[in-house]
Structure formats: C-alpha cells, structure tokens
Symmetry: C5
Subunit: 323 residues, 5 copies
C-alpha cells in the first residue's frame, strides 16, 4: 500500500486516521486539514487523490516519474514542490526525491527512493497543535528541515573518506585504486552540490516570493532558516570539492617531483657505473701490444683509478643534490 | 512536394485537408485554424504562404536558411520560433531544426534535416478537439514537447557510450583510437549542450513573457513544463560533460602513475644488472698480474658475490616499493 | 582624396553627387539627406565636415584614431557608432574599423584599414528609394549587414585551416611548426571573438534602446536581425575555439600516451638484452678455473640458455602489452 | 560565567555595570541602552536574555551553534548579524565567529572561539558619549571595524610565508614537504577568501539596505567604510591566491624544464659512452683471425679513434645545447 | 612642503597663487574656485584643509593612507574619488594613487607615490577659462584623462617585453631565468588589470550616476570618454594576459614535444647499439669449443652481420620517424 499515512486534523488537533481503503471525504470544514503521505504510488493510486484535491495533471506527472529536479511551482491556488533527499544507509549514500502538493486544506507528500519516513516529524508536530494549526506551510517547513538535516551526515561521511585520502597522498603516490576512488568521490560531490544548489533556490523562493499560494508571511522566516542550512551544506560541499581538487593536484605535483628525483638518481648512477664498464672494456681488448697489461701493478692501478673516478663522480652528484 | 500536410480546422475539429496544389483560401471565419507542415521548402514555395499569411520577410529568410539558432521573435501580431531537434537514427545522431510561424488563425512549421514528421502529434491532437480549439499556442506546445522528448534517447545513447569508455579507462590506459573517440564524444556533448541552453531560453520566454502574441496565459504552464524537461536534458548533459572531463583527467593521472611505476622498476633493474656487468667486465680484463684469476675458487666466489649483491639490491628495492 | 563619395538624396532619390572639392551646402530641406563616405581622413579633412554637421569633438577624435572598440554613443540628437570589420584578402585576414555619424539629415562613414568600399551597398540602396527614404537608420542597417556578412568567409577560412590540423593531430604528434601555427590560430579566434562580442552589444543596443536618436522603431527589427547574425558568428567562433582547445588537449594526451608506449617498449627491450650481455660478461671473465668453459657443449648450451630466457621474457612482455 | 560584561547606558553615558548574577531590569527609559557581551553561553544562559529582549528562536539557535556563515537578518524590529573573525595568536591563525542582536534599546554580542574580547572597543567608546548615544548601530560599526582590522595581521602573516616559498621555488625544485605546505596555505587562503566575501555582503547590506531595523541613515557611511576595508582584505587575499597558483605553476614548469635538460644530458652522455664500449667489445672478441690485434700500433690507434669520436660527439652535443 | 600648488580662480580665470604658508581664505564668492594639489601630506597638514572645506573624516583617512582601491563616494554635497596611477620611469613601472575631494567651490588632489605632477594639465586648463569655469568636474575629467593616458606607455612596455619572450619560446625552450621573468610579467599584468577594472567602475559611475554631487550633466560625456579609454586599456591588458598564458602553454607543449622526440631518438640508438654489444659479448666468451672463432672469415663475417643489422634497424627507425 503506497499510502503510508492519511490523517485528518482540525485546528491542529488530530481527528482520526483514515482507513487503508477508505476514500478521502469530499466535504471539509474551515479548520479541517488532510495530511497524506505516499510512497512510490502507481498512477492509479495517485489519480484518485488528484481527482479529490484537483491536482494539476502536469504536477501529478512530475510526482509520479522519478529523476525530477528540485523546483517550486504554483498551479492556481495550489503549490507544488519537488525536493531531493540524501541520507546515509550504513556506508552507502541513498539518494531519493520527494514531491509535495499544498492546498488550503491538504498536504500530500510523494516519496521516491528514500527509506526515511516522515513518521517522527509527524509525531512531533502532533504534540504541537498550535504549530500544526498553521496548516500546510508549517508542515512543509518541518519536513524540509528534516530533509536538509539529513544532508549533513552524508557530507560528514564524504569528508571523512576524503581526509583519509588527503593524508595518504602526502606519504606515498596514490595507486590506481585510490585514484579511481578519488574520482568517484569527486563525482558524487559535484552531483550533490548541484542538487543542493537547486534546493537553495527552492528555499529562497519559499522564503521571499510573496505570490506563492498557501505560504503565509509568518512562516517565511522559517524557510529563510532552511535556506541558511542549505547554504551551509553547499558551503561545506564546495570546500570538499576544493579538497578533492587539491588532492588531485598535489598528487600530480608530488609524482612529478618524485620522478624528477628518480631521473636525477638514475642519471647519476648510470654515469658512475659507465666509467668502470668502459675502462674494463678497453683492457678486455685482445691486442697483442698493450704495454699496461704486462705491468706488475697494472691491475691494482687501473682498479684504483676506476674507484677514484667513481668516488669523484659520486661526490660531485651528491653535492649538486642528485644523489 | 515540401508541404507535408495542410489542414483546416474549425473550433478544434478537422474540416478538410487541402489538396497538394490547392491554394490556401483567402477568407477565414472566427473559429477557423490552418495548420501547415512544410519540409525544406524552396523560396518560391514559402513565398506563396508568406504572402497569404503576411509573414515578415526577415522571418521567412531565417526559416529558409538552415543553421539558425533557437529563438523567439515577435513580428507585430505574429510569433516566430526557431528550434533545434536531435534524434537517433539507428546509431547516429541526426541534427535538425524546425521553424514555426504562429498567427491568430494559422500555424506553419518548416522542418530542416530532421526525419521525424509531426504526423503522430497531429493525429493525437485531432482526437482532442477541446485542446486543438486553443489554437496555435497549444499546437506549438505539443510539438515542442515532441521535440524535447526526442532529446532523451540521444542523451541515453551518448551516456551508454561514455560509460563504456569510463569502465575501460580504469583497467588499461586509453589507446589512441579511444582518445580520439572520447574527444569526439565530448565535442558532441558541448555542441548539444549549447543548443539545449538556447532551447531553455525559448521555453522560458514562452512560459513567462506576457507580451508574446498568440500565446494565451492558460497555455503558459505547459511551456513551463517544456522548460522543465529541457532543464533536465541540460542537467544530464552537464553531468555527461563532467564524466567526459573526469575520464580524460583520470586517464592522464593513471598514465602518469603507470609511468612512475615503470620508471622506478626500470631504475631498480638497471641498478641490479649493472653490478654483475661491471664486475664481469673487470675480471674480463687481460692483465697478466691478476691474482684472483688463478685462485681455485675465484670463479664461484665472484659469481657468489655477484648473486649476493644483486639479491641484496633486489630486497632493498622491494622494500621501498620500487619492485 | 579621403572622401570616397558624397551624395545628396531627396525623399530617397539621388539628387546629385558633390564634386571632389565642393563644400557641403549649408541649407537643407525637410526630405534632404547627405551620405558621405570617407577613407582614413586627416584631422583637417574631417574638421570641415564636423563643423558643417556639428559633430561632437570626442566622437571626431575617436573616428580619427584607429584601434577603437565597437560602441554606440548618443551626443545630443546625433548618434555615433564604431564597428570592427574583418574580411578575407586572398589568404590573409584583413582587420579594419569603421565609424558612423548619424544626424537627422546626414550619414557619414569613416573607414580605417578595410579595403571593402560601400559602393555596392550604396548602388543597391539607390535602386530602392522607398528604403532610402527611411534615412540614416536604414543606411546604417544596410552597411552593418554588409560588414557582418563579411565575417563569415573569414570564419570559414579559419575553420578550414583548423580542421586540417585536427585531422593531422590524430595521425602523428604535432611538430613544433604546427604547434606554433595552432597557437597563432587560437589567438586570432580569441581576438575576433572579443570584437564580435562587442558588435553584438552594438546591435543589441540599436535593436532595443528606445532612446537612441535617429533610430526609428520601424527599423529596429532589422537591427535585431543583425544581432542574430552576429550571434551566429559568435556561436561559430566559440565552436572553433573549442576545437582549438580540444586539438591542443588531444595532442598532449596522445603524446603522453605515445611516450607511455615507448617507455614500456624501451624497458622491455632493455630487460631482454641485459640477459645475454650479463651472461656473456660472466663467461668472458678470465678465471683459470671455470669448468663450463671446457665442456664440449658449453657454448651451444649457454647460447641456448640465453635464447630461451630472452624468448621467455619476450613472451612475458608481449602478454602484458608492453611489446 | 559567559557574560563578559553587562552595562547600562543613558544618552551614551555609562550608568552602571550589572552584577554577575543580577537579572536585567525589565523597565527601560527612552534614552536607556543595554550592552551585553557573552562568550560561548549555554542554551539556558542565553534563554534568559532571549526572553527579556524577545529574541527570535531561530536567531537564538544560530547564535548558540558554532559554524554559522556571515549574514544579516531582520526579525520584526530586531536585527541579527553573524560575523567571522580571524586573528593571529603567535604563529597560528585563530578562527572565530561572533553573533549580534540589535534592538532599539539593546546590543548583545555572542562570541565563539575568538580570544579577542571587545574590552578595548568598549572602553574607547565610553570616552565618546556623543557616539555611544547613537545606540546599537554605532556599537555594531565599532566592533565590525575592530573585527575587520584583525584580518590584516593574518593576511600579512600568510603573505610572509608565501613569499618565502616563492623565493625558494626559483632556486631549487620544491621538495615534498614544501609542496604540502604550499597546498595547505592555499587551502587556508581559499577558505578565508570565502568568509571575507560573505563579510563583504554583510557590510554591503548594512551600508545600503534602507529597510534594516535599528540602522540609522547617519551611521551608514561608516558601514560603507567597513565594506571598503573588507574589500581591501579580499583584494589582498585574491592576490595571495594568484601568487600561490603562480608558485605551483612555476614549480611545475621549472621541474619540466629541469627534466628536459637532464634528459638531453643523459642522452648525450649515453651516446658518447656507447662508442668506446661497442668498439672495445668488438676487439674483445676471441676470433683467431683478427689482423688489427697483431698490429704494433693497433691499440693506441683504436684508443685514439675512440677518443676522437667521443670528442667529436661531445663537441656536437655541446653545440646544440644538450651539454 | 606637501602643497604643490594652491590657486584661486574666478569664473575660470586665475586670480592668484596662495603663499606656501598662507591660510586658505574663509570667504568665497559665487564664481570662486580653489584648486589645491598636495603630495603625500602629513595628517596635520591635511587636517587644516579638511577643517576649512568640511571634508568627511572617513574620506580624509583614506586620502592619508596609501594602498586604497579606486572608488567614488558621495559625502553629503561633496564627492570623494580614489584613483590608481601607473607610469613609466625609464624601464620600471611606477605605481601610485591619487585621491580627489570635490566641493562646489574647491578641488583638492592628494597624490601618493606618483612622480607625475599635474602642472602641465593645470597650465593647459588655465589657457581655457571657459572650460575651467565648469568647476571641479571638468578639472577631475582633465586629470583622469591625464592619468589614464599614462597607462598606455606602461602597456606598450609590457607588450614589447612579452613579444620578445613569445619570439624566443618558438626557437628554444625557455630557460629558468626566462620562466621566472615570464611569471613576474604575468603577475604585473594581472595586478594592473584589476586596478584598471576598478578604474572602469569609477569612470562608469561618474559618467552615468545622476546623483553624484558636483558632477554636471554637461561634463558626463567626457567621463564616458574616460571610460572608453580605460576600457581600451583593459582590452589590451586582457590581450597581453592571453599572450602570457599562451606562451606558457606553448612552451609546455613544445617542451613535451621535444622530450617526445628525444625519447624516441634515445630508444632507437639504444636499440641499434645494443646489437653489436650483445654479439661482441658472445664472441668474447672464453669457451674452448666455439667453432666460429677458428673460421678464417669469422671476424669479418660477424662484423658485417653487426653492420647489416644496425643499418637495418637504422633504416627501420628512420622510416617510422624516430630518427
Ligand atoms: Mg513534467
Ligand atoms: Mg527552477
Ligand atoms: Mg534543521
Ligand atoms: Mg535543481
Ligand atoms: Mg536563518
Ligand atoms: Mg544569498
Ligand atoms: Mg578548501
Ligand atoms: Mg536573419
Ligand atoms: Mg514531454
Ligand atoms: Mg543553438
Ligand atoms: Mg537569449
Ligand atoms: Mg513542470
Ligand atoms: Mg558528474
Ligand atoms: Mg575617445
Ligand atoms: Mg565599447
Ligand atoms: Mg546579412
Ligand atoms: Mg548584449
Ligand atoms: Mg532575426
Ligand atoms: Mg566544440
Ligand atoms: Mg597539464
Ligand atoms: Mg538556523
Ligand atoms: Mg578599520
Ligand atoms: Mg550575496
Ligand atoms: Mg576607510
Ligand atoms: Mg597577483
Ligand atoms: Mg578604500
Ligand atoms: Mg571599489
Ligand atoms: Mg586621453
Ligand atoms: Mg561597471
Ligand atoms: Mg567616448
Ligand atoms: Mg590574445
């Protein structure tokens, strides 16, 4: 059953919970307020609700299909909002999206993907009838607050992983697996950042647009607070993106530096070892007339000369920092 | 014949199809509406229609020449719109462009390049006279929706190809052919992204500009929906561009990492093998007085020394991670 | 003589051509219109005209000195416009600039650098008295159209050259001369792009600014068309810039890939050849007691062992893709 | 005790200091003004003050939790401001943040992290009753001025460190430790720059927004001066960021240049030394019939030939700049 | 004495020069106008003038301290302007800044750093009483024009130096000294560009802001001309920055291309020389039973084989472009 909860309130106080198969009553008094929570409904299930509340077909279509982008849209006296959610399920990030329909007397949420139900938010609000009496705008605020609060553990988790890589890059060059992991992380940050940017626009529009139906001026400072929290999420994500870019650059620079060091060492040792090889090659030639070969101290003399030249070169390379 | 279809409607209901060579009737009642679909017309063919409907010469010129950029322009009480299309023909992407003239009583489309006719859209609309009775604005919406829906299979195809390259880069360095292919893909994405950006402006202008002739307020939410879908196309393209950039960077970084590994291995083996070569060179010299050469165990001793030094170096390089 | 042409029109019809040394008549009737075309005039030559038409000293100064940037400026009831031209003279791009003064009864153009006279534009307009009767705004449109049309052959030429380099980069690494040429091309594109960007602002201001003197509302759609064409030029230049950047990046990536391949090949062959060298060195030592040297099949055995090891290494490197 | 100071003023003159445990008096005359300074208060401590002055719960929440971003917010007739501080404590940069509540008759500051008390600012203001009589806006200005003045020693310190690295990079390639340090510095600059950007918005809003409660027009030029100083801080930070980027790029380019030099030297010496090795190898072969071996001057001839070829190659490489 | 000149004008005509120690007269008629030029005054010296003319303390503070950024600020009926100067003193660029106070009856300039006095501007203006009668706005224009004209020789000098490096990079890789120089140049361009950007804002604000005190509408076109010249300076600087970036990129790409060429050459020669070395090593072994050693033509045969293989390899590498 996609309807997770359907309750009727009057002046902020819970009247009753609708049955699983019960139709939504057609008539509704001044202080009445319906709050419906749906999870991945089928077109047919949503159609009944759309008919009862007069939801706009374009909005219904968007609420049914996943992969929508965050937005706020007015349809006559109704408001339609799409948000993106993200929360941590153990070690993996779970993306989701939730759509909201706001009318003068109803609030309908349609969740996709996200495993976090709104049960706790609802329970807390039911203890605050004065707040609930505000109607759909305050409910929207409470759920947006809940959604945005869910971003921070995700950001913390990404940060923790990234700082591990940052430490590692300083000691040894990243291996191929770490490089792949790093790019995957950065990808995730960029995608998250874009959704957060759009959520900021949603919050901004709710906090500042006078013309939105069902959003009272008294509730607007609360949406400004949402904006504020989203901005903080964006700020932290942009810092993480900087770190990721920095780690990539640092690794490149350190790898270049390490190769520079090895190139110099390699060149130095090649030069040092080429000397005895060349000299030995010469005295390995089979000419009949090579006077040095007959000298009694020819051998120690030549080996001594080799050692002296090698030591001299070694000292030379040491002093210019190649070894 | 460039005129693919020319039909007359009254209050949203089809009256009749004009004959291939029939002139467009000069007189037209209040509820009458002409819908003409042209494919790559010659200047002469369009001139007759332009004369009948009083189309502006600058707009006619733009509709005739290909390679225009998407835009919305008002000429008096008429509206002129240019769009870019893209659809998949087997494996290749087929670009095209379509221009639209909207008057109070007519809708004229001029297609270039695109093989997708509007036949299906038209057939569906003819089953909905209440919609068709809206006139040219609703027809424009239906065709824009059809055009923008055509973007997504193209984006899916590009994504599929790109994800193949992304997998491949993680295992082996890209070869020259893959590098070329990758750059070609990225080029295609960038070009597509630009057109989509301009299409977003077209949809935005149709959804928000109060002053456009022949666009009624009631139809504007539909253009906002078009905007929304175009934005989703743009969002996905920008993600694909990120992936392409990421693949390029990752490949560069992995190639650098691989060269670092090989440089270190090469240096280690060069050092290890230089030792027996140098020692063998020395004992290959032809000095008469080299006492070691006469020792009974000189040969195994020296070979043992070589092996010991090589093993020591090998262990050393192994422990610092060069081998 | 810097005055290329000076003609008087009445109600759009040519009255007469002023003589080379003839002063501009002081009096002028309602339908009269002077069109003067100057080419690199001296300060003195322009001063006489400035005095006659009351041109602003700052505008005159700008028209005399070359290297101005495109702009539109109002001085009282007069309009001053600076444009940049570019056309192809054989194989080389010829930059130029042209300034325009527009008053209620006159149109003065001052060309610098450009070899393209306005003779053809003028001749065509003289056949359309109804257009010419619009006065200076329509003349400005006609000449701007002529200038902007001149951009496209230049862009085509740059594109042709660039596509040659793009093909070449895919086969062999760019040599030094091609690298230099590529950077020079990109430089040219960037500079052109900037002028075109300013030209777009000029066209935009002429098409949308209500307050510009001597620009009638009826002519404004024509300037919007100019804007449109300039935008297309900008669009193509930005595409060319992308191609140039792409070629540079591709070349870098292919060069890196090629060096990776060679590094691996070099390392493999160095390893393969080090084996016989080391073994031969050992059996080239002059120890008296080396039993293998006395074996009848010692030589073929050792050479066989060398060949086996080399073949094994070769096979190994082949299988990991280094050879 | 988190309350660092709580004083009552009348018409800008100090009336008395409230006791540590004294409640804030409920009644307040026209010229009365309360100035409270808090340091990291607990929720309970701030709640009492919030109740007395009617502070908005959302603002109180922000003032209690650290890691807020700079902002200006109006709540009814009250103003809420968050700022970021940075000062130098010996060698390390100490970040902090301070929140301000401004009402018609009170000014409450809540500091987090920062060790710099406002004691000196307060003492100086108490000597200027005419200024203090302005009320909370002037106090806000004085403290913002104090906070922004604190940025400059921090910027000076970063600049000093960076210029040391810049000098060093010109002489020798950066080693791994210096690379790490450089990236850490750049990170710090980027983070600082972002806060400063937000502080500029805070100052701008205080200087230009007519609708902010408790900010009189007469004090606005002082906030413009704050803006000005913040802009100077931003300007210098952006210069430092350029230097850091420049050092990184220069180091990369110099390292590449050095490796180019070494690659050429290595290639040259490898070529020079390969010649005697190859020739000596040939005359080290044990063929029975090698006539040169029997020549009296064969040995000096061959050694002379080796020397000549090596010298020739050396000269050749010298002349093309490889050695 | 910091006061370089203090003169009184009436209706644009010079009345008299004030003595070095003479106080500025307190009374002033309708057409009177004071023009004071100061060079790096002490606080005391400026305080006297500030008192006489009622200058705002914040503006005075800015005028005294160096390192301000260009800006325009209104204080009541007075205007305060800060500008940055740059001029060439032999080969070095001399930065400076100048502040201006404009009141209805006075113009005060305060120069820092710059060695260029305003003597010539003043002398020229004194010959044009009709212009000087405009008052402080025209004087400000004349001096801004003088300051901005000073930018161009500096830009020319930077361009000359940069073009030398650009030529050089095409022939040989940049050495370390040239790399350092190039980065220093680029740094200078970036800093200059930023000041020029702020100067453009200053000119724009003087040319378009209706509300600035002491700037008459009649003088505004002159400030638009200043804007125009500043824009040209910015345009050229941005071109220079492109060149600098291009030189850096080209050098990197050419260095990479050169190393590619050398890597291929090195690999080819290593392969060619490895052949005789390996063969000679084999025939240098001391096995008793090596039949080839006894052949009469063994030696020439083997040397011929070596030469043939080497020539074959040489031809092979030549044909694939490695040699
Ligand atoms: Mg939709
Ligand atoms: Mg949106
Ligand atoms: Mg929250
Ligand atoms: Mg979004
Ligand atoms: Mg908030
Ligand atoms: Mg904001
Ligand atoms: Mg950061
Ligand atoms: Mg056109
Ligand atoms: Mg659709
Ligand atoms: Mg387009
Ligand atoms: Mg647009
Ligand atoms: Mg929509
Ligand atoms: Mg992405
Ligand atoms: Mg000028
Ligand atoms: Mg301009
Ligand atoms: Mg044209
Ligand atoms: Mg524009
Ligand atoms: Mg157009
Ligand atoms: Mg492209
Ligand atoms: Mg690079
Ligand atoms: Mg908050
Ligand atoms: Mg200060
Ligand atoms: Mg802002
Ligand atoms: Mg100041
Ligand atoms: Mg800088
Ligand atoms: Mg300043
Ligand atoms: Mg400024
Ligand atoms: Mg000038
Ligand atoms: Mg500006
Ligand atoms: Mg001008
Ligand atoms: Mg350039």
């Amino acid at each position: 059953m996609p309807i997770k909860a359907a309750r009727v309130y009057h002046d902020g106080k819970l009247v009753r919970e609708l049955g699983a198969d019960e139709a939504i009553p057609e008539d509704c008094d001044e202080g009445d307020f319906f709050w419906l929570g749906l999870y991945e409904p089928t077109p047919g299930e949503l159609a009944a609700i759309a008919k009862r509340f007069g939801l706009h077909p374009l909005a219904v279509e968007d609420a049914l299909k996943a992969n929508q982008l965050p937005k706020v849209e007015a349809y006559g006296d109704q408001l339609f909002v799409i948000t993106r959610t993200a929360n941590l399920d153990g070690d993996t990030i779970q993306p989701g999206e939730t759509a909201f329909f706001l009318g003068p007397h109803f609030f309908v949420s349609v969740r996709h993907g996200s495993a976090r139900t709104h049960t706790d938010v609802r329970a807390r609000l039911e203890t605050l009838p004065a707040k609930l009496a505000h109607g759909p705008d305050y409910v929207l605020y409470a759920i947006l607050d809940f959604i945005v609060d869910g971003y921070f553990p995700v950001i913390d988790a990404i940060e923790d992983r990234l700082l591990l890589v940052e430490d590692s890059v300083m000691d040894t060059p990243l291996d191929a697996a770490e490089i792949r992991h790093l790019y995957a992380q950065r990808h995730e940050i960029i995608r998250f950042q874009r959704f957060v940017g759009m959520m900021k626009e949603v919050a901004n529009s709710l906090a500042t647009d006078d013309d939105l139906p069902n959003i009272d001026a008294a509730v607007r400072p609360f949406f400004r607070d949402i904006w504020d929290h989203v901005q903080r999420a964006e700020f932290r994500l942009s810092g993480l993106r900087d770190i990721a870019a920095s780690v990539i650059e640092t690794n490149g620079m350190l790898e270049q530096q390490r190769q520079g060091v090895i190139t110099r060492q390699l060149a130095a040792w090649a030069a040092i070892l080429a000397v005895p090889t060349a000299i030995a090659g010469i005295y390995g030639m089979n000419f009949e007339h090579m006077p040095e070969l007959g000298w009694t101290f020819g051998y120690p003399l030549i080996v001594g000369a080799m050692a002296t030249i090698c030591a001299g070169l070694y000292w030379r390379f040491k002093s210019i920092g190649w070894l």
